[in-house]
């Protein structure tokens, strides 16, 4: 059982040490990594994915439950506790959705009843994240960007069921992010989002701030930010409604902006 991931003693590109020499991420935490482009966010999650042991350019070390990760994480990929979804990640298979999910579930879940339940839950999870429901008969390659992203997250969370899920800038492809975070919180895992999205950042328990390759701060979401998260989500919804209307050739009026401060 994994309880914590610890990130130790890293440094930025100029060699300056991380402002936080020891960072413990606990099971159940929803964490955001924020910072400008090129600030080392992806490198940070690469360190985690790699179980860095002072052997990456950042010098960071990763501990699991306070100890060096067991070698079996490296020796047997099936026991690797980390699932990674990046902005480049996609499905390549052209199998129908149903067959695809069965192919995956077969290698993860031996019990037939549990397998069917997991597949149903995966599909229902994905359908709550995307506007357009996914049909079991449609081919994986026919899914829209939003459906693909939704299914990637649902599959990693439920069928893979790894205790740690890394999500690298997944916000860009139309999924309901507030709903996603609500749903993800029902699963006791460590979720780490690399994100530029204020909504995801404010709905996280805390955010790790990166600059020039190093961790400069860890900010816990405070009461005021927590309150703001609702307004930010609303603001975001208003903007995405506007975007949709413009996309579908409609005119927009100032009515759309009512209720905004």
């Amino acid at each position: 059982m994994i309880d914590t991931i610890t990130i130790l003693n890293g440094h930025g590109r100029s060699g300056e040490a991380d402002a936080v020499p020891r960072l413990d991420l606990k099971m159940g935490d929803v964490v955001s990594i924020v910072g400008p482009t090129g600030s080392g966010k992806t490198t940070f999650i690469n360190d985690i994915e790699l179980f860095a042991d002072a052997n990456t350019p950042t010098g960071r070390r990763i501990l699991i439950n306070g100890e060096r990760p067991p070698t079996e994480y490296r020796d047997d990929p099936a026991r690797n506790p980390i699932a990674l979804i990046t902005q480049h990640t996609t499905f390549l298979s052209d199998l129908p959705v149903n067959e695809f999910l069965h192919t995956h579930a077969r290698i993860r879940i031996t019990n037939l009843v549990e397998r069917e339940t997991a597949i149903e839950r995966t599909l229902s999870f994905a359908n709550q994240l995307t506007g357009e429901p996914i049909a079991l008969e449609s081919r994986m390659t026919e899914l829209s960007g939003g459906q693909t992203r939704a299914l990637l997250i649902a599959d990693a969370t439920i069928i893979c069921n790894t205790p740690i899920v890394l999500l690298d800038e997944v916000e860009n492809a139309g999924i309901h992010r507030t709903r996603a975070l609500e749903l993800l919180r029902q699963y006791r895992k460590i979720f780490i989002f690399v994100t530029h999205d204020p909504r995801i950042a404010l709905l996280s328990d805390y955010r790790i701030v990166m600059q020039r390759g190093r961790i400069t701060q860890v900010l816990h979401t405070d009461a005021e930010e927590r309150k703001m998260a609702t307004v930010v989500s609303h603001l975001d919804d208003v903007l995405s409604n506007l975007r949709d209307k413009i996309r579908f050739g409609e005119r927009v009026t100032s009515v759309e902006l009512e209720g905004l401060a």
Binding site: L50, I85, L92, S93, I107
Partner: protein, 233 residues
């Protein structure tokens, strides 16, 4: 001197993986020699010679299958690399025919596969995978977690003994364990045998002569020093 043979379909990232391996071996003080075997065009030898200042060679297999060519020239290549004072000879081969494998007993066998080539690929590549010591899987960030896991499981089905190492060859993530494997490989013997049994065929290797080096063969032979450009005639 240690020997590591790296095979795999085209464009999977063999060269990118080897580039990281060479850098890390060099950084740890190892002297590396590199041999590239390809059918009719390759420039990795020139790239690596430029980038790392190491002894490199290439051989075009031309009308021979690259694995056949490998058997012929590997004896010469071992002598050449030993003379150059190398600690490790890395061989990169195209391994195009899916009926043989280029690995030899006493050397490390690595296949590089890309996760993006579809979940069924491990079922299709035959002895190049099943006789390898390590399967290196590249482009892992490009495919869904689901396909990555099915890909792994299929490798394990085909080759239960093979170690799977997932890497990101772009950033050099996951390369260290490969370097550890090479360093842990015992020194290669003077006389070596091809690992596994060749398929039915008409050349000395195809009929089962597994001794490495052209001197042990007849008919279609090839030394490291005689180069021809294959034009398909």
């Amino acid at each position: 001197m240690k020997l590591a043979i790296c095979a795999g379909p085209a464009t999977t990232g063999k060269t990118a993986v080897l580039r990281h391996i060479i850098r890390k071996l060099k950084d740890s003080g190892q002297r590396v020699a590199f041999l590239k075997i390809d059918v009719q065009y390759a420039e990795e030898d020139e790239q690596f010679a430029r980038e790392f200042g190491i002894p490199t060679r290439k051989v075009y297999s031309g009308e021979l299958c690259p694995d056949h060519c490998n058997v012929m020239v590997l004896g010469d290549a071992m002598q050449w690399a030993r003379k150059a004072g190398s600690d490790v000879l890395l061989v990169e081969t195209a391994g195009l025919c899916l009926r043989c494998s280029p690995y030899v007993d006493g050397g490390l066998g690595m296949i590089v596969l890309e996760a993006t080539s579809g979940m069924n690929l491990p079922l299709k590549v035959g002895p190049m995978l099943s006789l390898a010591d390590i399967a290196v899987v590249t482009k892992i960030d490009r495919v869904s977690q689901a396909e990555r896991e099915v890909f792994r499981a299929r490798i394990q089905d085909v080759a239960p003994g093979v170690r799977i190492r997932e890497v990101n060859a772009l950033y050099g993530i996951g390369i260290d364990p490969l370097v550890d494997h090479i360093r842990a490989t015992p020194d290669a013997e003077e006389s070596m045998l091809l690992r596994g049994n060749p398929p039915v065929g008409t050349c000395t290797i195809c009929v089962g002569k597994k001794e490495i080096g052209w001197q042990s063969h007849f008919g279609v032979v090839r030394a490291l020093d005689n180069q021809t450009f294959y034009r398909g005639e």
